[in-house]
Amino acid sequence: MVKKTESFEGLFKEIQKAVEDLEQNKLSVDNAMEKYQEAIKKIATARKIIDKMETKISEISVKQ
């Protein structure tokens, strides 16, 4: 499988996890604020990625 570093998928999952953690309501106020700020930053990053997305096409030439 392709190595995923800093991938959109990773970012999206982190945002989902942050929402789930906040929904469980087990965090202290300080931790909740920290989680919120992280989530907002990640959402902004994800939006930037979406805005810049472009498809690249490579044709494979294989001797038959």
Binding site: M1, V2, A18, L22, I43, I50, Q64
Partner: protein, 398 residues
């Protein structure tokens, strides 16, 4: 004429056979006709058959027949691809490389038999289906070069998502070598492991056109693929065997692209939802914290006030108790004092004198015993209002 003949080389028979076969090797043929006289040699992996039409018959030989997995039987209408070969015994035989069933009847029968066999083997089982990743970074596309399927997939992916690299492996999608090229393309991607998902796509066509995707080789190759595979082959309502074995079957190439990548607008909406949600959750958390602090504050105040009230109560009680005790103490002491006074009063010599008693003294010393005096002694007797001096005339004990 003789000059022409002189220029023609002379062959031995063997050389002649070789010469003819060299010529025919460069000129493969496609022949359509009906199979007859089919003979499968037991224990050997080849077969013989004739291909015929109304007016002629040609002999055919196919090596590695069992591995081709095309059901050959007398009466089937086929198209064969191969090279005419002159055998050493002088017979001309078509060395068959590929056989294509034609006519829906034969194709359907082969399709059905193969489907049942592969299904029984478990190749279409749900337990083998792999999940398609939600956010693939790269996609392998196997389709015909410049085909509608290729354009549909690429266009849809670009418009719908965009954040992906497509590796396109062009293949023949029908006819000769189609099966082989599709198998090789799937193997290529699996060997290199450079893509997150594979799409195998082609547009609609007849059963004959789609034969490669009904072949056992292609089906087994898709089954063996470690990369999740989406198939989008043929018509919406017709499933090729490749569609059954793929991890997901799409009705069209466009639909395959929609399955392979998410929709940019949907994901953007999801991010908006997340943003609103986390803000709401944190605000709720802060409100809850504020309420908790206020509640604690109220509880603390109440506890402290209760405590102070109890302390005041205690102090008051203690004060009252102390007052009572002190009063009692004073009363007791007063009573004692009075009693002492009374006792003292009782012991006051003057009060004794008042009761008629006197104090007898001799030469200033008080006499309490008759042995202290004798007859003739002068004594004084102190009474309450004065003193009597006298002389003792008699001493008598009682």
């Amino acid at each position: 004429m003789s000059e022409i003949i002189d220029r023609i080389p002379t062959f031995s028979v063997s050389q002649y056979v070789g010469f003819i076969n060299n010529l025919t090797a460069a000129v493969p043929v496609l022949v359509e006709g009906e199979i007859s006289n089919f003979r499968d040699i037991p224990g050997r992996n080849f077969c013989y058959f004739d291909i015929k039409d109304k007016n002629a018959v040609a002999k055919c030989f196919q090596g590695f027949w069992h591995s081709k997995k095309v059901a050959l039987e007398n009466g089937a209408t086929v198209k064969i691809f191969g090279n005419p070969t002159l055998q050493k015994n002088g017979s001309l035989v078509i060395d068959v490389r590929e056989v294509f069933l034609i006519g829906d009847g034969a194709l359907r029968k082969q399709y059905q038999e193969l489907k049942e066999r592969l299904e029984k083997e478990g190749l279409f089982g749900l337990e083998f289906k792999k999940e398609i990743p939600i956010f693939p970074i790269s996609i392998g596309l196997i389709a015909g070069k410049n085909s509608s399927a290729y354009h549909d997939v690429v266009t849809e992916i670009s418009e719908r998502w965009g954040n992906v690299e497509i590796f396109f492996h062009g293949v023949k999608v029908q006819g000769i070598n189609a099966r082989k090229e599709i198998v090789q393309a799937i193997r290529y991607f699996n060997r290199r492991q450079t893509v997150d998902v594979l799409i195998v796509a082609r547009g609609g066509g007849s059963m004959e056109d789609l034969q490669a995707f009904d072949s056992e080789d292609v089906v087994r190759e898709i089954f063996a693929s470690k990369i999740p595979t989406i198939s989008a082959i043929g018509h919406e309502d017709h499933w090729t065997l490749a569609d059954f074995v793929a991890d997901v079957r799409a009705k069209t190439p466009t639909k395959a692209a929609q399955i392979a990548v998410p929709d940019r607008d949907e994901i953007s909406d999801k991010l908006d939802f997340f943003s609103t949600r986390v803000k709401g959750l944190v605000q709720a958390k802060l409100s809850e914290a504020k309420i908790n602090v206020n509640t604690l504050n109220d509880k603390l105040r109440t506890k402290i006030e209760d405590k102070l009230a109890r302390i005041r109560q205690d102090i008051k009680f203690q004060q009252e108790s102390l007052t009572v005790i002190v009063k009692k103490n004073i009363e007791d002491k007063r009573n004692r004092l009075e009693n002492l006074c009374k006792m003292l009063g009782a012991l006051n010599p003057e009060s004794i004198l008042k009761r008629g008693y006197g104090v007898v003294q001799k030469k200033g010393k008080r006499i309490t015993d008759i042995d202290e005096v004798k007859v003739g002694d002068e004594i004084s007797v102190r009474l309450q209002n004065g003193e009597i001096r006298s002389k003792i005339q008699e001493v008598r004990s009682i």
